[in-house]
């Protein structure tokens, strides 16, 4: 018997033409809300630019840094954005490999998020340099002076890791886009048509293309996963490789990766809700998918909390006086407020995700996702700042709160991210059309198979869905035979 509709990922009776229309509509005539958000983001970005120019001319001092506090919010924000970038990979690559079907309607924007948050994160290591104009000295290039970067420094690893990851995930995003580009091409006029024409790389949707496409996509996915893990492990080694109490922690790589996925999922939830609301994507981004996302988030949250406690425990039993002193100071000292905020947002709050009522309540989830992200941001800052405030030499102890310049640049980064994302959703389909179609198709197919199994009647199904293909959408010939295997 057919399962009740609300348990399904998506309504299998969605006409494919409908899918095209809905998604393509989301790419047209922006409404006022869009322009307002755009303006806000632009303003935030402008402020950041101004702040950066000021800082560039005057010196890093205006960022409120001091002798113990050589790093501060810039690095925290850097880690935060890198973290964000992991969600996309998680959804598109990892879940793709394990055939989690429900990812299909939402992975596209997640991937976009990955790329853009990386593009944002990349700025921070540069912004925080004392002499930005020499940032390229970190890269190994052949110079007449015959000198090279110091390959022992985690910062150099960062440079490599991030650039690799950025290019890879951008490529991945693009590859995933190709079939949809083709659809878009066939449905648009004028310059857009040209653009999509180019981007779709002459996609005709014939057999060979599909085969190659799937291979490539799978390979990229496999390639991307270890990359994603390594990137954040390397970022974590910025701290773990040091000697400082609270930084020199062996569990940092997994801890950071978990944290990254955590904040990433939270971010996905936010964008999920936003898109669902603005673009009327209720049918695609259904509550069930939200449910799944929430559950995933909760699972990761628990992993993260666990690693967090592990760290405390390690500090406690490791009995390194400096570490211990720092841990106690974090929980009781000047930063105690933030510490407990982090614990609440990161460990306590996610338990809200256990309640189905909450999970199906979009406003509540919006709040929740923001809370989780806040928690993760604070966590990053709590890694960077307290250690510097209270390291080995008591003579240099000092607490610090970032001044306006720092804040505005950090906010500006959100503006910049927003801009990129807003442009993206209007230029590219933020829901993967062809995969949603696959989804509906397989769903329908299963249901019918069940029905037929009951009736012992064969062959209708094929004829039936043969007529399905509408709006110049390629029939997915190779998909059908594998559908049995693919069924989730």
């Amino acid at each position: 018997m057919t399962p009740p509709i609300q348990d399904k990922m998506i309504d299998e009776n969605l006409k494919w033409s409908r899918i095209n229309e809905d998604v393509l509509r989301s790419m047209e005539n922006p409404r006022r809300a869009y322009w307002i958000t755009f303006a806000v983001c632009l303003a935030m970005f402008a402020v950041a630019i101004a702040a950066e120019i000021y800082q560039y001319r005057t010196g890093m001092g205006v960022a409120g840094l001091s002798n113990p506090h050589m790093w501060d919010m810039y690095i925290a924000t850097f880690v935060f954005w890198i973290g964000m970038s992991h969600a996309g990979t998680l959804l598109s690559a990892i879940l793709h490999i394990i055939h989690a079907q429900w990812r299909k309607p939402i992975y596209r924007f997640a991937e976009a998020m990955t790329t853009f948050s990386l593009m944002t994160a990349g700025f921070f290591p540069m912004i925080h340099l004392g002499r930005v104009w020499n940032f390229y000295w970190v890269l190994p290039y052949v110079s007449d002076r015959g000198i090279w970067p110091n390959f022992r420094s985690p910062l150099v690893w960062d440079a490599f890791a991030i650039s690799t990851y950025l290019s890879a995930s951008a490529l991945f995003l693009f590859i995933g886009l190709i079939p949809d580009m083709a659809i878009a091409r066939d449905h648009t006029r004028g310059w857009k048509r040209k653009l999509y024409g180019v981007l779709s790389l002459g996609w005709r949707g014939d057999d060979r293309q599909w085969r190659n496409f799937r291979k490539t996509y799978m390979i990229m996915a496999c390639f991307l996963i270890p990359l994603a893990i390594s990137v954040h492990s390397i970022v974590s080694s910025d701290f773990a490789m040091s000697l400082m109490p609270g930084w020199h922690v062996t569990t940092f790589p997994p801890y950071f990766v978990a944290g990254a996925l955590y904040s990433g999922c939270a971010a996905i939830m936010t964008l999920f809700i936003a898109l669902r609301y603005f673009f009327r994507f209720e049918e695609y981004m259904t509550l069930n998918i939200m449910e799944k996302t929430c559950k995933l988030t909760f699972a990761i949250a628990m992993v993260w909390s666990y690693l967090n406690l592990i760290e405390f425990a390690a500090t406690w039993y490791g009995h390194n006086p400096y570490d211990k002193e720092l841990l106690i100071d974090k929980a009781t000292g000047p930063y105690a407020g933030l510490f407990w905020l982090m614990i609440f947002c990161g460990v306590i709050a996610p338990f809200g995700l256990c309640f189905e009522k909450l999970r199906r309540n979009m406003p509540a989830m919006l709040v929740m996702s923001v809370v989780l992200q806040l928690g993760m941001y604070v966590e990053r800052w709590m890694i960077v700042a307290p250690t510097l405030s209270m390291a080995h030499n008591p003579h240099q102890w000092q607490t610090l709160w970032g001044p306006i310049v720092e804040w505005s640049i950090v906010f500006g980064s959100f503006g910049w991210f927003g801009l990129l994302f807003l442009v993206f959703v209007k230029l590219f389909p933020s829901v993967s059309m062809y995969e949603v179609k696959e989804l509906t198709f397989h769903l329908k197919h299963e249901i019918e198979e069940e029905a037929h199994a009951a009736k012992h009647a064969q062959g209708e199904a094929h004829g039936h869905h043969g007529t399905q293909g509408g709006g110049g959408v390629p029939v997915m010939a190779p998909a059908a035979p594998r559908s049995g295997k693919e069924g989730s």
């Binding site: 002499r131 020499n134 110079s143 002076r145 006086p321 030499n393 008591p394 003579h395 000092q398």
Partner: protein
């Protein structure tokens, strides 16, 4: 070899114009581009001295004038610019070392706020004039043709010695004036007075290096007292494993020396003398006295029973006994008495008590040695004091002066308001200030003569405190004057003298005078002299002349001082005894315009760039103030406002405000920064010597609403369990080394 007249300091001309550039400007460009040619200028010497090589530092010997200790220095000169000051190893005063003030000498010299041209008061405002105008004005009032009545001429200086002193006296004599006021805020005049009376020698040599135990009654001999660098050198020997001496510091507010004490004893303000007598009495009781004590003295001493003394001083009886036993066990002892004791109401009595103790423990002859005086009396130091300031102020009030010269002193800043010195000073018809900087006094002058800095001028100095042999130290220019419109002090005075006496016409300038004068010093003074020219060059090379001088003899006069009343002060909840302490660095405020000194933290509190009021936690609790709160400190003669700094190194019944800040003028670094405690001092006199009792002002402290951020160096005040500064017990070491 040429028709060109060469300036005698030609080789000191500056070569490179730029100095050290901002090095990093160049390296932002890609490496293929180098510096553009033809941007920087390079100038060669006209006539090279074979020892002056571009790019190689040359060291010239001179004398430090940052305080009056008279340390010998070497100035590192490169391309005609003096870059760094080092100590002169040949000088027995500082044997190659300097203090932070000496190091900062270069910034005093290169200070951006120097006066670069003469200034004259026209229609109420100081205006820049040419030297001709200035000289004309000067001659009009003090020149040979002027109708100046010498009796109505006064000259205020700091401590002076050497040939400046000679010239000053000469000019005073020519003018027929006797009003020479040598004024120093930081001085040891009461100490010398006592030494003079009880030992028959004003500045006996103190052998800190020989002492086994030092009982210092507020003498900050490592920081500001008499000859800090020299004492620090000896202190090193005193601390060496061979000696391992014990330092006991008795004072109300911790000084640098107190910070280094083995035992820091905060006795009640003004009772240090009584403490000394208590110790003396105890020792005599125990028969620990090294000299014979007449019965009369014993009787007088007997009054100072431990209990009574403990009660008066607030120092536990056990501690007093311990100190006493230290003085006898760890002989030879040495008892010193510094500013807080000297310039209290009964300073003389207190210091005499200390001296009596010295005699009893047999310090005289062992750790107190007869001084060596420089044989040429005229060149000896005339040490400044505060008595002279009082006298000058009095003179001003009685309108006894028509013309006043001020050189090397800043009375408008240092004089307490109670003395009404400023008004009196303004009413003087003609006030000439010889000065490098636009300080408070300069601003009130009618004629300002811009002086060479100590590194541009010639001078000789004879330290008041002589060590091994009697030193005459030469101050020679380390570079050519920065500003063409400045002049040497000596040059100006010589010019004035020429008008009145034939003897000086032979001298074109002070340099010529100095050279002749030095060469004419009798061999009795200098010891066997080589050929004159070589003597002179040798002198300049070495930078100083160590003569055997004549040795004073010490007599020890046993007499127990009488304390009129046990002058001690009970701290109410808001009234305190004000401690206007000087410190190494700021000194009496003359270095407040030196950025390095401003940025160098105070040694004890680590506060920078400002004044502060030290309070004991108890006192702070009583007042309900915290670090950084602004408080108003009011005496009968005015009030100052400054920030609170709380620490335990001070008695709860006193409040410490350091000297040095609170300048109304004196350049960009000093102006309008902090508060000047001297201003609110009550005009209390030391009973015997008539010195100003600086440590005898009671003040009321009140909160203001305001709070500022206390800017100090360092986060945590404790080591938080780190193994940073480890302390090992001397006893333990002694035991392990089997020294008993």
């Amino acid at each position: 070899m040429s028709s060109v007249k060469l300036d005698r300091r030609q080789f000191l001309k500056m070569l490179g114009v730029g100095g050290a550039g901002t090095a990093l400007a160049g390296c932002d460009l890609p490496t293929t581009i180098t510096l553009e040619e033809g941007k920087e200028e390079v100038v060669s010497y006209l006539l090279p001295e074979e020892y002056v090589i571009p790019g190689v530092g040359v060291y010239f010997a001179s004398t430090c004038t940052q305080c009056n200790a008279g340390c010998g220095i070497h100035g590192r000169v490169r391309e005609g610019r003096v870059l760094k000051i080092e100590g002169n190893p040949d000088s027995p005063v500082n044997t190659g070392k300097t203090c932070m003030m000496g190091q900062a000498g270069v910034q005093t010299h290169f200070n951006p706020d120097r006066i670069t041209a003469p200034m004259m008061r026209k229609s109420g405002r100081l205006q820049t004039v040419t030297w001709d105008e200035a000289t004309a004005e000067l001659n009009k009032h003090v020149g040979a043709q002027s109708n100046l009545n010498g009796g109505r001429f006064a000259w205020v200086t700091g401590s002076v010695s050497g040939h400046q002193s000679v010239l000053i006296n000469e000019l005073m004599a020519q003018l027929g004036s006797t009003n020479h006021y040598a004024h120093e805020v930081v001085n040891a005049s009461v100490w010398s007075a006592v030494c003079q009376d009880m030992l028959g020698d004003a500045m006996p040599r103190l052998r800190i290096d020989k002492a086994g135990t030092i009982l210092s009654l507020g003498a900050d001999f490592l920081g500001t007292w008499i000859s800090p660098v020299h004492f620090a050198r000896e202190y090193a020997k005193f601390r060496s494993p061979a000696k391992r001496g014990v330092l006991v510091q008795v004072e109300t507010k911790m000084t640098l020396t107190g910070g280094n004490a083995d035992l820091w004893v905060p006795a009640r303000a003004g009772t240090e003398g009584i403490l000394a007598l208590g110790i003396a009495n105890f020792m005599v009781d125990r028969g620990w006295n090294k000299v014979e004590i007449p019965a009369a003295v014993r009787a007088e001493l007997a009054e100072y029973k431990i209990e009574k003394v403990a009660e008066l001083t607030g120092v536990a009886g056990s501690k007093i006994q311990r100190i006493a036993s230290l003085l006898s066990e760890r002989a030879p002892g040495l008892v010193l008495a510094g500013a807080p004791v000297e310039s209290s109401e009964q300073g003389y009595a207190s210091v005499s008590a200390a001296m009596l103790l010295n005699i009893i423990i047999g310090a005289v002859g062992t750790t107190i040695e007869p001084a060596t005086r420089f044989s040429e009396k005229a060149l000896q130091a005339k040490a400044g004091d505060t008595k002279s300031l009082l006298a000058f102020a009095k003179g001003l009030q009685e309108k006894r002066f028509d013309v006043v010269f001020i050189s090397g002193a800043n009375p408008v800043y240092t004089a307490p308001d109670a003395l009404k010195l400023v008004d009196g000073f303004e009413s003087v018809p003609f006030k000439v200030v010889f000065s490098q900087f636009p300080d408070e006094t300069t601003q009130k002058a009618d004629l300002v003569l811009p002086m060479y800095s100590a590194m541009e001028d010639w001078a000789t100095h004879v330290p008041a405190y002589q060590t091994d042999g009697a030193v005459l130290s030469v101050q020679q220019p380390l570079m050519e004057p920065l500003y063409k419109d400045t002049k040497g002090f000596g040059d100006v005075v010589i010019a004035l003298l020429k008008q009145r006496s034939k003897n000086y016409e032979q001298f074109p300038d002070y340099y010529a005078y100095l050279q002749t004068a030095m060469m004419n010093l009798p061999e009795a003074v200098t010891g066997p002299k080589p050929v004159k020219k070589e003597f002179w060059n040798g002198l300049l090379q070495k930078g100083l002349m160590v003569t055997k001088g004549d040795r004073a003899t010490l007599s020890a006069k046993l007499s127990v001082p009488v304390f009129a009343h046990a002058a001690h002060h009970e701290g109410g909840h808001d009234d305190f005894m004000l401690v206007p302490s000087a410190r190494m660095g700021m000194f009496d405020g003359r270095h407040a315009n030196v950025p390095w000194i401003q940025e160098a933290p105070d040694q004890i509190t680590k506060v920078v760039w400002d004044s502060w009021a030290e309070l004991h936690p108890e006192a702070a609790a009583k007042l309900g103030v915290a670090n950084g709160d602004l408080i108003r400190i009011a005496s009968e003669h005015g009030s100052i406002e400054t920030q609170v700094f709380i620490h335990k190194g001070i008695r709860p019944d006193v409040i410490g405000v350091p000297l040095g800040q609170g300048h109304e003028e004196y350049g960009r670094y000093a102006k309008g920064r902090g508060a000047n405690p001297l201003k609110i001092l009550n005009p209390v006199l030391e009973q015997k010597t008539g010195e100003l009792a600086m440590y005898a002002t009671k003040v009321k402290v009140s909160k203001t609403r305001k709070t500022v951020k206390l800017v100090k160096m360092g986060g945590s005040d404790t080591q938080a369990g780190r193994q940073f500064v480890l302390t090992v017990s001397a006893d333990k070491l002694r035991r392990t080394e089997g020294e008993g």
